[in-house]
């Protein structure tokens, strides 16, 4: 079965710096990968989706890369702000048709002013 690894330790960075979060997976390459943000006591909120044939996707201060050779996705937040502090989850879907998402455990990001 697919295994997803996200850094279990919290990432602490200074405001204004770029935060980089890692999502590694084993076994088969997913058809696509999604990133979600989760704040304490709330459900996850969708941020970005990247397909297996895409190398990079951007949305405002967010950037996601997808390297099927390394079996890794990187999630970047540029010019980070304290409001970006949250847990970030990556989720994989094995095919573009019917497919459930397999979620990682998430990485907590703390941005200090």
């Amino acid at each position: 079965s697919q295994k997803i690894e996200q850094n279990s330790e919290a990432l602490n960075i200074q405001e204004g710096k770029t935060a980089t979060l890692t999502c590694n997976y084993t076994n088969y390459s997913p058809a696509y990968l999604q990133w979600y943000r989760q704040d304490p006591g709330r459900g996850p909120v969708f941020l970005l989706l990247i397909r297996e044939n895409e190398k990079e996707k951007r949305k405002e201060r967010l950037k996601v890369t997808f390297d099927t050779t390394l079996k890794q996705s990187l999630f970047h937040i540029t010019a980070s702000q304290p409001a970006d502090s949250a847990t970030y989850l990556c989720a994989l879907a094995m095919n573009s048709g019917y497919s459930t998402l397999t979620f990682g455990k998430g990485t907590m990001l703390l941005v200090s002013p």
Binding site: I4, A31, Y32, Q34, G41, R42, G43, P44, V45, F46, L49, L89, A91, A93, S96, G97, Y98, S99, T100, L101, T102, F103, G104, K105, G106
Partner: protein, 115 residues
């Protein structure tokens, strides 16, 4: 418009009791998912509904867990004879279609505590 809603927001029950958790998806969303999130753990898939198709129950951890979706809208997750290990946040999500390429919209969750 209204998002996904869940009720109750918190539920405390005694071991051995049955509980029902409710999910109201976004209107028009044909796919509905239930997940469980334990402290420090990722989202664990439980069950998936798509239109009138048979649900995908592959994630249900035991036969004490069941779910229904009435009229293609509201869903109820039932846990019978609750155990302490059932304590978790139960999240519901909906999406526009069955192809998981679409984003999932999550509700706020129901925090279940089994004493």
């Amino acid at each position: 418009g209204a998002g996904v809603s869940q009720s109750p927001s918190n539920k405390v029950t005694e071991k051995g009791k049955d509980v029902e958790l409710r999910c109201d998806p976004i209107s028009g969303h044909t796919a509905l998912y239930w997940y469980r999130q334990s402290l420090g753990q990722g989202l664990e898939f439980l069950i998936y509904f798509q239109g009138n198709s048979a649900p995908d129950k592959s994630g249900l951890p035991s036969d004490r867990f069941s779910a229904e979706r009435t009229g293609g809208s509201v869903s109820t997750l039932t846990i019978q004879r609750t155990q302490q290990e059932d304590s978790a946040v139960y999240l519901c999500a909906s999406s526009r279609t069955q192809t998981g390429i679409h984003e999932q919209f999550f509700g706020p969750g129901t925090r279940l505590t089994v004493l």
